[in-house]
Amino acid sequence: MKKTVLNEWHKTNGGKLVSFAGWDMPVQYASGLRAEHEATRSNFGLFDVSHMGEFRFKGPEALKAVNYFCPTEVSKLKKGESCYTFFANEKGGVVDDLLVYCFEENTNYLICVNASNTDKIGEHIKTYNKNFNVEVINECEDWGQIAVQGPKAIEKVEELIPGVKNLNKFSFGEFKFSDASLVVARTGYTGEDGFEIFTPTNKTKELWKALVELGGEPCGLGARDTLRLEAALNLYGNELNDDCNPYERRLGWTINLSGDDFIGKSAIEALKLKATHKLVGLMSLDRAIPRAGYKVCSNEVEIGYITSGTLSPSLNKPIGIAWVDKEHAKEGDSVQINIRGKLVDAEVVKLPFYKAKS
């Protein structure tokens, strides 16, 4: 099992460790999932996301290569900007969703991918990166990563790393911390403002401890999941997979069909016309909690299934994201979720379930 450089810290500080995508990761700490979730919504939470994977595209044709891998127009990114996108396969399905960071226009880009897909992405790049004058470097071992999220995140990180407060949303920069160079990006996966900080692995622990001392609440994968679910951010393996239609999975806005060719383009063009389903929010009117895989019905006819579900700690109500037939799931419609054989009423609601006040 792989371990992040913070593994020992998690163990000696009340972390309950579980196996996740081949990594030994904290699912929660002693204060518990709900307290961690609430701390992120009201103060600021800290997340060890060092298990995420990083690949660097470097060379004269780096932009050309990244543009060929992503259905998004990456060429619009200026130095110091990032965007959310995905890699498609030839069938138009989703290999992984990811962030692209532009370090130098045309010649230097970093992508950050899911831990569970790191090996697959490595293979995918090898398979398709044949005709470009670019070097692709696997930097997974070089970076630790800490997400700092919540309404207090900006001012607190500013105390430690002066200048970060000037970053715009989805922009990033290189900053000094304890003689090391960090990459700080104003991005996140919780629905809150905050940063994702890439640190050299030998500095991760020092930064983590400094953030804990500033009052940050260490949060496990459990809270990370409930936070992202309330914010309706996709999770690969739940909302996304190799066989899904990206237009049915809230990815349509990232796709640019009018630009250069990319992997899966012709398939995706066809999928656009075939999109019959969509992802919607469901709020259960019962106490029973929807979970991934549960069937969704309208007038007793199956119209789709739950992709992610939980008891929302912020709303204290059972919520779920569901992939359902568009025609039968308009906002305000009433549907039923099959929860262990019982049909439970739910309402189709607007996503996200939760929006930060700022």
Binding site: T226, A288, I289, T310, L311, P313, P318
Partner: protein, 128 residues
């Protein structure tokens, strides 16, 4: 950490406890179970009058993160359900041995008790 394991109860490998009083069996989950699950936010149980079967599910407990089946220690008929848990599932965390009891079963045959764990065996199981 050492968990409390009362000597006068029977246990299942899935971390339920069973208190036997003649042919009535009161069922709950152990302290170890509630601690592993984390904060319990939802409970679903069979209803009074329904049959339960040894080693089969008689309901679920859910944390924010996950769903866990509850396994019946004996075969029989549900004669009473702890209704208070539906409003306060957190009782299972606070007091799994007393107020957090789940249901009472009128068991069909005492013979099934032989398949359950005694306290000493259960202690060994959770020490692993």
């Amino acid at each position: 950490m050492a968990y409390k394991v009362p000597d006068d109860l029977y246990y299942t490998k899935e971390h339920e406890w069973a208190y036997v009083d003649e042919n009535i069996v009161t069922v709950g989950i152990t302290g170890y179970a509630q601690d592993s699950l984390g904060e319990i936010v939802y409970v679903d149980l069979k209803e009074e009058g329904q049959k339960v079967t040894q080693n089969e599910s008689f309901g679920v407990v859910e944390s924010v993160k996950s769903v866990s089946d509850l396994m019946a220690p004996v075969t029989g008929t549900v004669i009473e359900v702890n209704q208070s848990l539906f409003d306060k599932p957190g009782t299972l965390n606070d007091d799994p041995w007393n107020d957090g009891w789940l249901l009472k079963i009128e068991m069909d045959t005492e013979k099934e008790l032989a398949a359950l764990l005694k306290a000493a065996d259960y202690k060994k199981l959770i020490a692993q």
